[in-house]
Symmetry: D2
Subunit: 455 residues, 4 copies
């Protein structure tokens, strides 16, 4: 290695600093999530869609082991057999232990899994201290960090689902929710027709599916300045929302009847009062929190009942980005899970519309620029994932990357809908307005809510 | 009836003439389809997605009875109980007999069902002779005609599926297929970026889901001048297409393994030779026919294998319409089922690319007009339904009509993909380039094929 | 053919006369059953357990073709492909078309199937005229005749089930049921403990599973002189029979909840009145007919509710045989389906207990002989199949015959219960007191009823 | 407490001593089983038929709480909500948490469950010290002890199944198996025909289903002096046992194909060598151990292949009892799980036939007494549960007890077969020759084996 490359190395080490620090911070947060849990809590799996907490802890570790440490050559695996056990769906890496049976694996247990994490963290430290990361390694590292953050959100939502199956309604962690019950008005932001650009741009990290940035024509539309509240959703319920087939997509109506849906997930009616299960135990419904744990079908039916519709992904992204100075950054103000955990509050959405996240100096309004009469758009980042009417599809010119990481996003572009904005279970620094989350239309266990649009 | 209205009636009768004639022609074609069938053939149901032929005959009749005759006041139903029995999915009309059990209904049999048809046809004649149809009645009549044509296609595809379950491989009707086996080259049509309009326009009939005509931005793209052939698809199969997960959507790979797919539907390999089941019995595969009876998953995997992709609905529609003088009309040249039946040929796609359907005088090429260097686009109408990569969603500004007919299209906008162009099982006069057919991505029993695109 | 063999033939014909005559009589009755049916009626299959009528017609024919005509050497099959299509479950004969898909086969249709039957009947005539049947051939012929009679019963019960799925409640054949509603008392026959013999004896035909006749020890028991009536069963229903888990076997309680059972199969309540679907259409419940179309679970729960139990097979057989002069013969008086069809009555059980089938001169009472104080035992043959508490198992010393006919009975000795006595759907000359019918405990579509016992 | 009652208490304590001591010994063994396990091991559920270890620990405790402590009046429940959570199937006690979801309950965890056990044990101590147990209480106590022993066996077999699902093949506890591989001959014990008595008699404990003792007639039979070995079963496998439908019951053949059975449960072939998963990890197959983890279907098919059959329950019980001085006692010599655990051996059957359990002074032979030429009958108690050909049915005169404990046995008398003799997973002092274990014919996760009979 000559001096020249030495210089580069120093620069690179410098440049990498932030990334490595974030690596260890993010890794630490996974363990922070687990702190209040028993070994038993970490091993159960309540449905095929969810995974045991212990599996999330191990799988995110497996990711760094498989895609960074093993290729680096100088790494002794913690246990060779984990490759099979903790592969989620990467066919290029090999066979996978069946997803629906993850709850049958009691060993490695929590303690050993934490040892596995330490082992890999230690090896990661050696890796970054031993040599300058190549560009490819840095890219994988960054993906791995975001990958772990995605699983942190899943840890919270899978845990919530699992605990909710227990008739004892166990408390993950005590914590207050905002409890104001004062109806807040709703206004519309209006947008003129025109060609806009959506998708990610700039130097900051994004997933492959946010690319390429491209042009889209938007016909004129309006979008609500806040999310639908429990108060509003209860009106829909009391107006026979779950009994009127004309409000539902055909598959939605089938789901309503098959699953016996009469309210959002986690809601229970005792006498005339609704309560819901939260990560801080069972609590009364707060009327002005955004409704959450609704499926796409319920979001769509609600919107139809309200004489509106859901926004398309492009409308949502354009509306939100038009209010932000730096729309491509993941450092947006929000109600993020790590901050909630740190402050001791319940991991649950905050009140709807009481706090507009947007920068008052930001651009908003029509496609062509500012409009001082537009209301600020509230709650868009980090409260509830907002269902859009857009099927999750490839952007024009999209190509999945070669190799295993090409299996990350592209292969799921079927029968799922795009959600935008992040939720109270998302860790800060993870989501962006261009971020494309996606779930099947019957999914309800994420913190998913509704924002109305109309044309 | 006074003279005045008499005059109007004459005018109206004149205006309605074409429509009424079409009504009786279309009704007659349903019965023509049934001619070679036994009563037993007409009652079986081979899967939940398909219906017995006898059910199609009755349901299309029920449509006119329910939406035209009963509201007209002066009508004696053939059998009141048919309302329940032959309602497909119209919740506003009432309860429905379970779809998957239509094959359990042996009565009314074929003969009685044909009587039911006569009864309704007779009543329809009285209706149009008795008074001038209102605009609304004319509209329902036109929808009913197109509705029956849709079921005519389903009669042929459901019948094919049902007969294919019989190890005796019964012949619906003898008929030759084109049997040339000479590979035909494939060229690309190129399109520049820009805002285009899609959706229906003009006075001719269209379904609600083709509206409103609206603007879409298309990034530059290329589209193949013909469909993928069996010869090409066999290369994919022989290259391990069905064994390589990296070529498939995740749900597609699940489907491949769950159903054991190794070839398109109806194909069988005996020794080293592939044959397929057709409506004229089992026949050897013709290499240069368009591949058909493939799912969206197979179309998508093939395209990925070929280094291409499927076209979006907007790309397809724009490319095809740009070659036509009258793109909103359903009178396009094609390989339509009624013409095939009349000519005694097998109901099966004709050879790929040997015949460009488009008008040589038509516009084609870039968004901005003609390009004499572009090849003509072949096979687009009336050969195989072409899978697009577009999820079936509402056009901006779409509203489902009020009442039962609002259940026609909008409520199915979930987890299905758009297909364009019509097939050899579609009757002539039914499909248009703006027509939006839709099926679930695992469906294979329609005559569905593949046209490649790339950017 | 020389005189010698001519003489033998005559002798043989003489000896065989009865058997051959019965062959043609029994064959004719299958076609008699079909007379009122349309081709469509004959092709539908309403559940996996049932088969299309057309399939029964063909399969019983296939039996003679496969086991008699083909081995005889000099036979031209009607259609070679029927071997696969109409094999029910004989693994030794070859692969079978999947049972649950028999309703997908529209061809051969009814007419062609009747031709197939004629072809085989003709060949059977040639066979018996051409040479003396060997003992083995005679044996197979006899089994084939009884096999066809079994399928005649299934034709009627499968048809009843299929027609009952049609909301139009079609009538197979008009016919009156006995309609007296006068409660009849019930008495008990008492039996002392001792060793008795059960199983078939003598020269007349029986199935392999009725052998060998063997000794069984019976503790003292009592058996009801008639079957449980609708009147009595309604008391059970009104006493919460279907709501009280303590009355049910564990699997029975699961079945009640899974299927939502609230009454016997085919019963419907309109307002406060119960009616039931019969082969002569929907009719009011007659209170003093024996309850039928109940599962083993319902029979067992009813008996527990009544403070009784079901009889074991040995108890039932001993009690019935003790009242008969010729218990091994199939010519017992009963309410048989061919007689019902001939007389124009509804194929349904006759009133309970109004007619004791037994010969007044017969032996009955204790194991050791007559007891003039015992009441006669009524309804035991040819009214409803009576559930016993006995699991269907091999008799001591039982061996399944070698070859394909060994698959007839023995391989079903698992998870089914023995039923005795024959029903109104059984043709005369088929059942005997030693006859062992068997069905799964959740089956309800046979004419199955309840006779109480206690110890 | 006055002297008088003090005296009685002492007497009673004396009388109860044995029972109370056994209570605490048995309770302690449950905790002994759990010692080598992690909290995670105790919470997983690998199939609907199995339960988490933690559930077994709690449910057996719930039994004493519900049936003894709560009725005693003076008891403060550990947690009222456990009543619902740990009820297995007692409908009379109330609703039950769904069986298949027991693996979703992470709380109470192992530690809290052990506290629950202490709480109940403490209360039990107070109960027995506080007053003389009534006869009914003593009876419930005794049932509770046997109930816990049943669950101890299930803990071991459910654990084995759960660990076997883990690709890491975890070891419950190291321990050697006997490893001699020397074929041992097999002889037949012969029995003359006659009336025998089966069922329990005498003062020692038995379950309701072992009563009443009653008479049965046995035709002459022979029974093997030892169980079928792995060596013999491998011959069956190598002779195409799993490929020959003629050897199987119809439902058995379905199970073979549905589940892809090619060997007993837990067997794996690597190259040409068979190994099996044991509670001490994966080990090579020992040829002369009794084959175990076979279903009834496999036992029956093996017997048919060997030209034999399985014994009936009555034959088995008579043969074994005829060799024992005290057949009604549960203190028979065997290979019991508590002894295996104490001695550090693997919980697995010992070699076949090397050790006849029977008392050389005992009676054996024909029904009428000794026969010095009969070989001793080996392995009958405490090695593998032996499938009999007898369906589990009520003995003549059987009545389920009133109340919740009446749900213990009688309601399962459907579609299960009787197994006799106890296994290496049964704790000592639990099983008797009259003991009637029962499982569905497809069950394989118990230590179930084969003893041949013939007539």
């Amino acid at each position: 290695m000559d001096t020249n490359s030495g210089t580069v190395a120093v620069q690179n080490a410098h440049a990498a600093d932030g990334l490595i620090d974030r690596f260890f911070q993010v890794r630490a947060f996974s363990e922070k999530i687990v702190e209040p849990l028993s070994p038993e809590d970490c091993v159960i799996q309540s449905m095929d869609d969810a995974s045991p907490i212990r599996w999330h802890l191990a799988h995110t570790t497996w990711f760094f082991e498989t895609f960074l440490l093993k290729p680096s050559g100088d790494y002794r695996p913690f246990d060779e057999r984990f490759e099979y056990l903790f592969n989620s769906y990467y066919n290029s890496v090999g066979e996978q232990y069946p997803r629906g049976k993850r709850g049958l694996i009691s060993r490695p247990g929590l303690a050993e899994t934490l040892d596995y994490r330490s082992h890999v963290d230690q090896a990661m430290r050696s890796l970054v201290e031993g040599h300058d990361l190549t560009d490819e390694e840095r890219q994988v590292l960054e993906i791995g960090i975001h990958h772990e953050q995605q699983h942190q959100e899943l840890m919270l939502t899978d845990l919530k689902h699992a605990l909710s199956c227990n008739p004892l309604a166990p408390v993950y962690r005590d914590g207050a929710c905002e409890d104001l019950d004062t109806a807040v008005g709703q206004s519309w932001l209006e947008f003129d027709p025109g060609v806009v650009r959506i998708g990610h741009d700039g130097d900051s990290f994004c997933f492959d599916n946010e690319l390429p940035r491209h042009r889209v024509f938007l016909e004129p539309f309006q979008i609500a300045d806040r999310c639908v509240t429990n108060r509003e959703y209860l009106e829909f319920m009391e107006d026979g929302g779950y009994d009127r087939p004309e409000l539902w997509l055909s598959l939605g109506w089938t789901a309503v009847n098959e699953h016996g849906w009469r309210s959002p997930l986690y809601w229970t009616k005792t006498g005339s009062r609704w309560s819901h299960f939260t990560l801080s135990g069972r609590k009364p419904i707060r009327l002005d929190q955004p409704v959450c744990h609704v499926s796409y079908f319920e979001a769509d039916a609600y919107a139809r009942w309200a004489g509106c519709r859901l926004a398309t992904e492009a409308e949502w992204e354009h509306a939100v980005c038009s209010q932000l100075d730096d729309p491509f950054s993941a450092t947006q103000r929000g109600n993020w899970s790590d901050e909630l955990l740190r402050s001791g509050r319940c991991i649950h959405p905050k009140l709807s519309g009481t706090d507009s996240y947007c920068n008052p100096q930001s651009h908003y309004g029509g496609i062509d620029g500012d409009d001082p009469d537009q209301p600020p758009l509230a709650d868009a980042m980090g409260n509830v994932w907002e269902w859009t009417s857009s099927h999750y599809s490839a952007y024009p010119g999209y190509h999945a990357p070669a190799g295993a990481l090409g299996e990350y996003n592209g292969k799921f572009m079927c029968n799922v809908f795009v959600l935008k904005g992040g939720s109270c279970a998302t860790p800060s620094g993870h989501a962006r307005p261009t971020y494309r989350n996606f779930f099947a239309p019957e999914s309800r266990w994420q913190f998913t809510g509704i924002r109305l649009a109309r044309c």
